[in-house]
């Protein structure tokens, strides 16, 4: 790596089902202005802009980057738009970081968002294929069978998913930006909530949110001047086809390879011991144990034990989804960047009420498509 990169500004919006008080323009500016303010910079300090969001059908507006570049200070500067489905918030931050690490730019603003209320994401994800019956009802319909497979394979206790949801929903109460906040949430409310895509219950499911996230990334010189930078230690991305014969959809090879590559680049030999906290992309509660295994934090079939033993709780040995996670806020295009941003804020000591004491090294993780795109980064309080 020629140049070091650090996060010096983080911003996000309030996440809600319908942000009718702002347009898409207003939404992305809300996050971007907060990130600039956090970095103590202005639009003119930014060299380049990298925008990410999930499929255009989620708003029904094609190529929104055409009108977003100008409102994000992009006029006269390089602009890129990134798309890798649900993982896009992560891969957008990685593209932005690459521009710094390659020595192309000194300061890059990266913004990811979704304004789901402007269209219907479940409709957009249930498009009829030419010679198949329309059966897969949105993302839940696609992922529920994989969760059922995991339950069968691992023999995990049936209430594992409820425990994950309870933890994340309690964490969300400490996050002022979280969309879903249930002040009196308890185990029984989640257990008794209706099955939507059996075995996925309503309260084990992410919401549909309007929201945005933005990061200001800087080279080493700028990061040295910033009061609390989060240094990017490593980034990694991988992809594999949605379907192929023999594919392990529960524990995809692309995710395992991505994590292995990430840890190697970050000089991590024992992720379970060396990483202080992890913010991972869990849109349905059972994905916590599934990804804990895929990420190498637990042996295959044992990830549920970490949830069960309280290891992943905010006061546990490896806190996971301190912000309340995707289960509590899901502006799809921004969801990956929110994970990366939470990891950065943890090592900056700026995570507020959900700060993990002494967090010095954190993982941000995102996935997308049919569990086929993965993007991850490791950030630390000191340069590697």
């Amino acid at each position: 790596m020629a140049e070091r990169c650090a996060v010096i500004g983080v911003g996000q919006t309030r996440h809600e089902s319908k942000r009718i008080d702002v347009s898409q323009v207003g939404l992305v500016r809300e996050a971007a202005l907060r990130a600039l303010e956090d970095a103590d910079l202005t639009w003119k300090d930014i060299d380049a802009l990298v925008i990410g969001k999930a499929p255009d059908l989620f708003e029904g507006v094609m190529m929104p980057e055409l009108f977003l570049a100008e409102v994000l200070g992009g006029t006269g500067k390089p602009m890129l738009r990134v798309h890798t489905a649900g993982s896009v918030g992560g891969s957008t931050a990685i593209v932005a970081a690459s521009l710094i690490e390659a020595g192309v730019h000194e300061r890059v603003l990266t913004v990811a968002y979704e304004k789901q209320s402007e269209s219907n994401a479940m409709w957009a994800l249930s498009i009829r294929m030419p010679f198949q019956q329309a059966l897969v009802a949105g993302a839940g319909g696609f992922f529920a069978p994989l969760i059922r497979s995991y339950m069968r394979r691992s023999g995990a206790p049936e209430d594992t998913g409820i425990r994950v949801a309870l933890k994340d929903r309690i964490n969300a109460l400490k996050n002022p930006y979280a969309h879903l906040r249930f002040p009196n949430i308890d185990f029984d409310q989640i257990a008794e909530s209706p099955m939507l895509w059996d075995p996925i219950r309503y309260l084990e499911t992410c919401p549909s949110s309007d929201g945005a996230c933005a990061l200001v990334l800087s080279d080493q010189a700028g990061a040295r001047r910033a009061p609390r930078p989060a240094w990017v230690h490593a980034t990694a991305m991988r992809t594999e086809p949605t379907q192929f014969a023999g594919r392990d959809q529960v524990n995809p090879q692309a995710g395992k390879d991505c994590a292995r590559d990430l840890y190697a680049k970050a000089g991590i030999s024992n992720p379970r011991r060396e990483i202080d906290c992890a913010e991972i992309y869990v849109p349905f509660s059972w994905f916590e144990p599934m990804w804990l295994e895929n990420l190498g934090f637990a042996p295959e079939g044992e990830g549920w034990r970490m949830t069960y033993d309280g290891v992943t709780a905010l006061d546990g040995d490896l806190p996971v989804n301190m912000s309340g996670g995707v289960l509590s806020s899901n502006p799809i295009g921004a969801s990956g960047m929110l994970r990366f941003a939470e990891a950065a804020n943890q090592v900056r000591g700026m995570a507020g009420e959900h700060q993990v004491d002494g967090a010095r090294k954190a993982l941000g993780h995102a996935y997308g498509g049919g569990s086929q795109y993965f993007s991850m980064w490791i950030v630390g309080d000191e340069p590697r």
């Binding site: 010679f131 949105g138 379907q243 014969a245």
Partner: protein, 164 residues
């Protein structure tokens, strides 16, 4: 300021229609359906059979030419009981969307499973296609109305390998 009500949003409908160019493998697959046959393709590299037939192997990245007829019977590898309505799915709730590995194919397809109560569906269940009357067949997978339990004994989960 005027007294006119403020405008918060307007509705602008979007329509999307497209013409699907089937290509060689899909053309063969669809033409065979009109004769009541299920045609897949075998990869010359990994020797896996892909149904529906497709032109290239997604894993090996090479062209597939050998056509293989697969059975209209198969095994449920996993499934979802859908209890939530979706705008473009016109089925009575709840319904079972099952991942079915047809005999002779190496890739499960997602299909509707009926004539079975939700609580009776299980991993390893044997199922068979229920076809429309022959007079209604065309070059479409809709010739198969749905799948139903075949009554054969369940397949042990261990036999289904990574598909579970």
């Amino acid at each position: 300021m005027s007294d006119a009500p403020s405008v918060k949003s307007i509705i602008t409908p979007t329509r999307l229609e497209y013409e699907f160019r089937v290509g060689g493998a899909h053309a063969e697959f669809l033409a065979s359906l009109a004769e009541g046959k299920l045609i897949g393709k075998r990869c010359p590299g990994c020797e896996k059979v892909y149904f529906p037939a497709r032109a290239s192997c997604p894993r090996c990245g090479i062209a597939m030419s050998e056509s293989v007829e697969v059975s209209d019977r198969g095994t449920v590898t996993t499934f979802c009981i859908v209890r939530v309505p979706s705008e473009n799915i016109d089925l009575k709730l709840p319904y079972c969307a099952a991942n079915i590995l047809l005999d002779g194919s190496d890739l499960p397809l997602i299909a509707l499973l009926q004539e079975c109560e939700a609580q009776d569906v299980c991993i390893g269940m044997r199922v068979q296609a229920v076809w429309k009357p022959k007079s209604e067949w065309g070059p479409t997978f809709e010739n198969i109305r749905y799948f139903r339990p075949s009554g054969e004994p369940d397949v042990a989960a261990e036999m289904l390998g990574a598909w579970i």
